[in-house]
Amino acid sequence: MSTATNPALQLNMSQLLSRALEAEMGRDDRIVVFGEDVGGLGGVFGATRNLQRRFGERRVRDTPISEMAFTGLAVGAAQAGLRPVVELMFVDFIGVCLDQVYNQAAKNAYMSGGAVSVPLVLRTAVGLIGAAAQHSQVLSATFAHLPGLKVVMPGTPGDGPGLLLSAIRDENPVVFLEHKLLLKQRAGTARHPGAIDALDQPIPLGQAATVRSGGDLTIATAGWAVQQSLEAASVLADDGIEAEVVDLRSLVPLDRETLTSSAARTGRLLVVDEDYLSYGMSGELIAVVCEELWEHRPRVARHALPDVPIPASRPLEEAVMPNPRTIAEAARRLVLA
């Protein structure tokens, strides 16, 4: 099927994810889904729609607003042989249950000397939605910093299902970060639809996608910022600057090879990140590239959320969030400097 006529282009990522989950649950009865409002409502962003109707309350369960209890329950259930897919409604709520994620799920395989594994997926919605400081964060680096968690963040709607399949089939705990704007946007209107023609194919974790080729600079990014960067790239192209855009797809594992070989080719790396600037993904990717390519003296820059809580009012929000215009400006500065 050619991309242009693919009916999946009419769907948004939440619909695509729920279909992937449904198919995978049909194949594997170890999968159980927990979370707030995942049942009758099908998730506040719709990514578990239809699941309870199809699989019943036994497998798809609305939980009380008890994140500590249900993430802990998922850890125990995973160690006892199930494959829980847990929804944390907004990533911002991780504060109330982080212990079970980073002290238990992330560490139990290591601490047990390999005796146990914790194959659970923590799906959670991230990113900007006009909901201010406690409902707009990405926090990807927070998870990526903690050893033992795989951290996946689709940057295109079509990659969501394939990445989710790999996350579910992984023996390790995976934090799966779904950007709200991707969840809600029709795939056909995305700058890049991702693997929309291969929705049932798992996408291996740790394989970045070069979603645009160009020779003047590399923009490495993930999540919604992939779409923003693609838009910036088309603006830059009008000025004769060709950006290569690398969608990391997973922060852990990190596809160092794609990142460094692109940066080696272009000689310039701009990291765009909707997460906070300091001690974050941007610094990390730049360190990786500089360590690996120090002989090439790559030129580097980062464009991320400045170190402030995300404000509520639109003009304030726009002042801090990377957008295509600010990304293009950052790219121009790097290329023209």
Partner: protein
């Protein structure tokens, strides 16, 4: 059925294991923080006859006794405690993070974190319609963490086969229970419809009788809460100066009548058990533990290079 002589032997083994561990701390073979359960043996011994191969136990930072009664391989456990390779976790877990998936036993060093994880083991049984329950062990201090309240609600709501087993040794490190805990822990399940009881945790029969009921309920899908009174005979950790507990209090609490082992011994003798035979049994159990310890200590040290592997499976 609770066989008092079997329970006696079991408690003697527990004590011997903990004493060996204390020596390991003194000798420096165990360099980390170490929490032992001396004085709390009757609780583990009281649930021992009720635990089956189908059950899971999720314990705390004071886990050794629960591991022993859930029949975790004792040599493998001791090897882990003595920081050797070839034990439960190859030196990567240590005494607060023991994992024995063949027994569905684990423990955690985060106070209260054992409770929701136990719910997960219970859920897996419930989901698979398999026999078995999960025991969530917690201390009195852990009863004040939010995860406990959340878990009581969730267990009741989903009718999970779980027993909340609270070992109330009167302290969370240095803070006395009454300085940290409002109301009665055994009543904290009531609003959720979870019946609770408090028993004398130094009396193995009292523990067993109450646990029999609690386990029976949990196996029928009605979570249960059991609080066992005991006293922590050692410091919070080995090396704790323990100056915060008044000597008079310790003297009053740590008597032969309140020592679960001596108490049971006196009862067995009053019930016309042969004293010499008991002494022999005790020596035999201690010898057995000494063999375990020797076997564990003979295992090699871990290879430092292994520290970097195994983050992901």
């Amino acid at each position: 059925m609770l066989d008092l002589e079997v329970a006696y032997r079991s408690m003697v083994r527990m004590r011997a294991v903990e004493e060996a561990v204390q020596l390991g701390v003194i000798s420096g073979e165990i360099h980390g923080e170490m929490h032992v359960g001396i004085g709390q043996e009757a609780i583990a011994a009281g649930i021992e006859p009720l635990l089956t191969d189908d059950d899971a136990v999720v314990s705390t930072h004071r886990p050794h006794l629960h591991a022993l009664v859930h029949r975790v391989n004792p040599v493998a456990m001791l090897a882990e405690l003595f920081e050797r390779d070839g034990g439960l976790c190859h030196g990567k877990g240590g005494h607060m993070h023991l994992f024995s998936p063949d027994r569905d036993f684990m423990c955690t060093g985060i106070v209260g974190a054992s409770v929701p994880i136990a719910l997960g083991y219970a859920f897996a049984r419930h989901y698979r319609e398999r026999a078995g329950l999960a025991v969530a062990v917690l201390g009195d201090g852990a009863a004040n963490i939010g995860a406990f309240a959340e878990s009581l609600n969730l267990a009741a709501l989903w009718r999970l086969p779980v027993v909340f087993l609270c070992e109330d040794n009167g302290y969370g490190i240095s803070v006395a229970r009454d300085a940290a805990t409002a109301g009665a822990i055994e009543r904290r399940g009531e609003p959720y419809g979870i019946p609770g009881r408090r028993v004398d945790g130094t009396d193995v029969t009292a523990v067993y009788d109450a646990a029999e009921q609690a386990f029976g309920q949990a196996r029928a899908g009605q979570p249960a809460l059991l609080v066992c009174d005991c006293y922590r005979w050692s410091g919070h950790y080995e090396g704790d100066t323990d100056h915060y507990r008044a000597q008079a209090e310790k003297d009053a609490a740590m008597t032969a009548e309140r020592d679960p082992i001596q108490r049971l011994r006196a009862r067995l003798i009053a019930g016309r058990a042969n004293e010499d035979e008991l002494t022999e049994a005790e020596a035999a159990e201690r010898a057995r533990v000494a063999e375990w310890v020797a076997e564990a200590r003979a295992k090699p040290s871990p290879n430092p290079a292994d520290a970097l592997s195994g983050v992901f499976v």
